[in-house]
C-alpha cells in the first residue's frame, strides 16, 4: 500500500469574502465611469493600461481621490487600504478606461516609495503622483537583459555628491510623456558567486541632461514603448532609491504588486461584454466558449482579490502572484483569440467590436511577456512546489 496523501499546502490563499464591504465603492466608480463615457471623455479600449494615455481622465480620477489611494494623507494621499485600491483599479480596467498615464506610478512606484523612499523623495513625488501630475516609467529591462534581469549592464559610478549612470534601458512605456523612472543599475562589479549583489536603483528624470528617449514603434504602428539612453547622467545622492547594493531585493519586492493585479487578466475584458451583445443580437453564432471565458475571468477575479489581501497583510505572495499572472495573461489572450475566430469577412460584427478585436490580437503577444514571461513564472511556481 502506497503512502496516503495529506492535504497539500495551497499555492494560492483562500477566497476573501469582499463583496459586501466594497460594493458601495464599486458603485461609486461605476457611476463615475458612466458619467465620463457620457461626456465623451473616453471610449473603452483594449489594453488601456498600456495604450490609453489620457491626462484629463487621470486628473478626474485624482479629483475623486482615486490616485495614490494607499498613500498616507500627510503625503497628499487618501490613506485607504490596498484592497480599496484594488477595487477601484479593477473597475477602471473592466471598463477599458484610459489609465496609462498614471498606471506605473500608481501601481508600483507608490508602494516602492512608501517602502524604500527617503522622506525627501516621498515629499517630492507622492503628492504629485496622487494629484495626477507626476508620471513614472520602469527602468529595468535592457537590450541584453530581458527575463534575466540580474544581467543588467547599465553602470553606476560613484562620483562627488552622487552617481554617474551610463547604459540603455528598453520597453520603457510612456517615457516620451512621463516625468521620471527608476533605473536598475550595476553599482559594483559582478560577483559570480552572487549575481544579485551589487545592483542599485536610482530615480532619473527624463528631462535630465544626458537622457535621450527614442521611440520603439509597435508592429501595428503605435508608439507606447521607448528606448532610453543614459549617457553619463548625474544622479545626486538624494535621488538614490533605497540602499546601494539592495537593488535586487527592492526590484523583486515590486514584482508581486506588478504580477498579481487585475491588469493581468482584464486587458481584453471589454471584448466579453461586446461579444455577449453580438451573440445576443445573433450577429455571431451562439458559442458556449464565451461562458468558459467568463467563468475563468470570474474565478481569476476571486484569485486576484485573494492575493491583494495577502499583499495587504504583508504575506509572501510571489508564488500566488505568478499563478495569477500565468493564468490571467493566458486567459486575456484566449479572449482575443476566441473573438478573432468569430471575426471573418462573412460575420456581421459591428465596426466597434472589430476594432477591439484587431487591437486585442495585436496586443496579445505582449500579455504573456511583460512583467516576467510566463516561462519564467512557471519556474517561480515550480520553485514554490519544491521542484527546483
Amino acid at each position: 500500500m502506497a503512502q496516503l496523501l495529506m492535504p497539500i499546502t495551497r499555492p494560492v490563499p483562500a477566497v476573501h469574502p469582499d463583496a459586501a464591504d466594497t460594493a458601495a465603492l464599486r458603485a461609486e466608480v461605476r457611476a463615475f465611469l458612466a458619467e465620463q463615457r457620457a461626456a465623451g471623455t473616453y471610449t473603452p479600449a483594449v489594453d488601456a493600461w498600456l495604450c490609453s494615455w489620457n491626462e484629463e481622465f487621470t486628473g478626474a480620477l485624482a479629483a475623486r481621490g482615486w490616485l495614490g489611494m494607499t498613500v498616507p494623507k500627510e503625503y497628499g494621499g487618501q490613506g485607504r487600504s490596498f484592497l480599496e485600491r484594488f477595487v477601484v483599479t479593477e473597475e477602471l480596467l473592466a471598463a477599458g478606461a484610459p489609465v496609462a498615464a498614471h498606471w506605473i506610478a500608481d501601481r508600483q512606484i507608490v508602494p516602492s516609495l512608501l517602502k524604500y523612499g527617503t522622506e525627501t523623495q516621498k515629499r517630492e513625488f507622492l503628492p504629485k503622483i496622487a494629484a495626477g501630475q507626476c508620471f513614472f516609467g520602469i527602468g529595468m529591462s535592457e537590450p541584453d537583459s530581458g527575463s534575466d534581469l540580474a544581467s543588467v549592464r547599465t553602470r553606476a559610478v560613484r562620483i562627488d555628491r552622487g552617481w554617474r549612470l551610463t547604459g540603455t534601458k528598453v520597453w520603457t512605456s510612456g517615457a516620451h510623456r512621463a516625468h521620471a523612472f527608476i533605473v536598475l543599475a550595476r553599482s559594483a562589479p559582478v560577483d559570480p558567486a552572487n549575481r544579485h549583489a551589487g545592483l542599485s536603483q536610482f530615480i532619473v528624470r527624463f528631462a535630465d541632461p544626458g537622457v535621450e528617449v527614442r521611440p520603439i514603434i509597435s508592429m501595428n504602428g503605435r508608439h507606447h514603448f521607448n528606448e532610453v539612453i543614459l549617457d553619463e547622467v548625474f544622479v545626486p545622492d538624494d535621488m538614490v532609491f533605497g540602499e546601494i547594493g539592495n537593488g535586487w531585493q527592492q526590484v523583486t519586492s515590486e514584482l508581486s504588486f506588478e504580477r498579481s493585479g487585475p491588469e493581468r487578466l482584464l486587458s481584453t475584458f471589454v471584448l466579453l461584454p461586446a461579444l455577449a451583445d453580438e451573440m445576443a443580437q445573433q450577429r455571431i453564432p451562439h458559442d458556449a466558449g464565451l461562458g468558459r471565458l467568463v467563468a475563468r475571468i470570474a474565478g481569476l477575479h476571486h484569485m486576484s482579490a485573494a492575493v491583494a489581501v495577502a499583499l495587504e497583510r504583508h504575506q509572501p505572495a510571489d508564488v500566488p502572484a505568478a499563478v495569477v499572472k500565468v493564468l490571467g495573461t493566458s486567459t486575456e489572450g484566449d479572449i482575443a483569440e476566441f473573438a478573432d475566430l468569430h471575426a471573418g469577412d462573412d460575420s456581421a460584427l459591428s465596426r466597434d467590436t472589430r476594432a477591439l478585436i484587431d487591437a486585442a490580437v495585436d496586443q496579445r503577444p505582449g500579455f504573456t511577456l511583460r512583467g516576467g514571461t510566463n516561462e519564467v513564472l512557471r519556474g517561480v511556481i515550480a520553485r514554490g512546489l519544491g521542484l527546483r
Partner: protein, 333 residues
C-alpha cells in the same frame, strides 16, 4: 472559514485506515465507524441525530474520502438525502440514503449510489409542485449502471400512482440541485490537488538521464500548469461555497458562482489529467499505480450533475441575460 486541523486530521485518518485495511469500496463497517464518530450525518441538525456542522467541514470530509481514494456516497447521504428528508419533516434514522429526482414518468437515469443505499429519498414533479417520499430501495426497480470509475449510477423507476409524498416547494428542489452540483466541484478539486501532489512526488523521485525529472524545465512547466489550474478550480469552488454558506444557499448570484466553479473545475481537469499522465509516463496508466484514482475520478465527476459543456452554457446564458452593461456586475456580485 478555516476548519479545525485536528478535525481534518481525524477525517483523513478514518478513511486512510479503511483504505489501508479494506480497500477502496465502502463497507458497512466503515459506515458504522462514521456514524459512531458523528461523521455520517456531519451536517444534520442535532435534534435529528446529526452533528450540526456546516458545509466547510463537510467539504473537508468529502475531500478526505477523495484523497484516500475511498469511494462512498457519503455526500449524497448527508448533504443531499438526509438534508432533504429533514426539510420535509421526515424522520431520519441510521439507514444509508441517497437522493433521486424522478421525471413525470417516475424514472431517473444514473442515480448515484442507488443500489448501495438502503433507502432513497425520491422527489418528483406533481402539478407544478414537487413531492417527496423516503422509500426502501427494495421497493424500487433498480437497473445497474456505473460511471467511469465503477461507482453505482443506477437507473431508478417507481410507480408514481402508488406513491404518496409530502409537498416540497420548488425552491428546495433548486437548492438540492445547487448542492449536488457543488459536491462534484469539491470532489473534482480534491482529485486535482491529489494529482498535483503525486506529480510533484514522482518528478522529485524518478531519475532519467542521470537526474530527477523535476530538474527538467519541460517537466517543471507541466507541473506548474497543473498547480495553476487546480488553484483556479479551488478558488472558484470556494467562492461558490462561501456565497452558499453565508446566505443559506439563497444568494442571488449563487447559480452563477456554481456555474463558474463547475466550468473552471471541468476545464482544469483537462489540463491536470493530461499533464499528470504526461509526467508519469506509461506507469501512470496502469491499474497498480494510483494516479488513475484521481485522474479518472476527476473526469468521471466533472460530467455529473451536468456536463462541463452544460455548465459553460449556463454561464453563457447568464452572460447574455446580463448583457453588455451588466456582465462585469454579474462577475463581481
Amino acid at each position: 472559514m478555516t476548519v479545525d486541523p485536528d478535525l481534518i486530521a481525524m477525517m483523513n485518518a478514518v478513511f486512510a485506515d479503511h483504505r489501508a485495511n479494506h480497500g477502496q469500496a465502502a463497507t458497512p463497517e466503515l459506515w458504522s465507524r462514521l456514524r459512531s464518530l458523528g461523521l455520517a450525518r456531519l451536517t444534520g441538525t442535532e435534534p435529528s441525530g446529526g452533528s450540526g456542522a456546516g458545509w466547510h467541514e463537510a467539504a473537508e470530509l468529502t475531500a478526505a474520502a477523495v484523497r484516500t481514494g475511498v469511494r462512498i456516497g457519503l455526500p449524497e447521504h448527508d448533504l443531499l438525502a438526509c438534508w432533504l428528508l429533514e426539510q420535509a419533516g421526515g424522520r431520519v434514522d441510521d439507514a444509508v440514503r441517497t437522493v433521486c429526482a424522478l421525471d413525470e414518468s417516475g424514472t431517473a437515469p444514473a442515480v448515484p449510489w442507488a443500489r448501495a443505499a438502503e433507502r432513497i429519498v425520491l422527489i418528483w414533479p406533481d402539478s407544478g409542485q414537487y413531492r417527496l417520499a423516503d422509500i426502501s430501495t427494495a421497493d424500487l426497480r433498480i437497473t445497474r449502471g456505473t460511471n467511469l470509475i465503477g461507482e453505482p449510477r443506477d437507473a431508478v423507476a417507481a410507480d408514481l400512482d402508488t406513491l404518496t409524498g409530502a409537498a416540497v416547494c420548488a425552491d428546495v428542489v433548486a437548492v438540492l440541485r445547487r448542492k449536488a452540483a457543488l459536491i462534484r466541484a469539491i470532489q473534482v478539486c480534491a482529485a486535482l490537488d491529489a494529482a498535483l501532489e503525486l506529480a510533484v512526488q514522482h518528478a522529485s523521485s524518478r531519475n532519467q538521464f542521470g537526474r530527477p525529472l523535476a530538474k527538467f524545465q519541460a517537466v517543471q512547466h507541466l507541473i506548474a500548469d497543473i498547480a495553476a489550474e487546480a488553484s483556479l478550480a479551488r478558488t472558484a469552488t470556494e467562492a461558490a461555497l462561501t456565497a452558499a454558506v453565508s446566505t443559506d444557499w439563497a444568494a442571488p448570484n449563487l447559480d452563477f458562482r456554481i456555474g463558474v466553479a463547475r466550468s473552471c473545475a471541468g476545464h482544469a481537469a483537462s489540463v491536470v489529467v493530461r499533464n499528470a499522465h504526461q509526467v508519469f509516463g506509461a506507469i501512470g496508466t496502469t491499474a497498480e499505480h494510483r494516479l488513475h484514482e484521481y485522474t479518472r475520478a476527476a473526469l468521471a465527476w466533472r460530467g455529473e450533475y451536468g456536463s462541463v459543456r452544460s455548465w459553460d452554457e449556463q454561464v453563457t446564458a447568464a452572460a447574455l441575460r446580463a448583457g453588455a452593461g451588466g456582465l462585469w456586475e454579474l462577475i463581481t456580485a
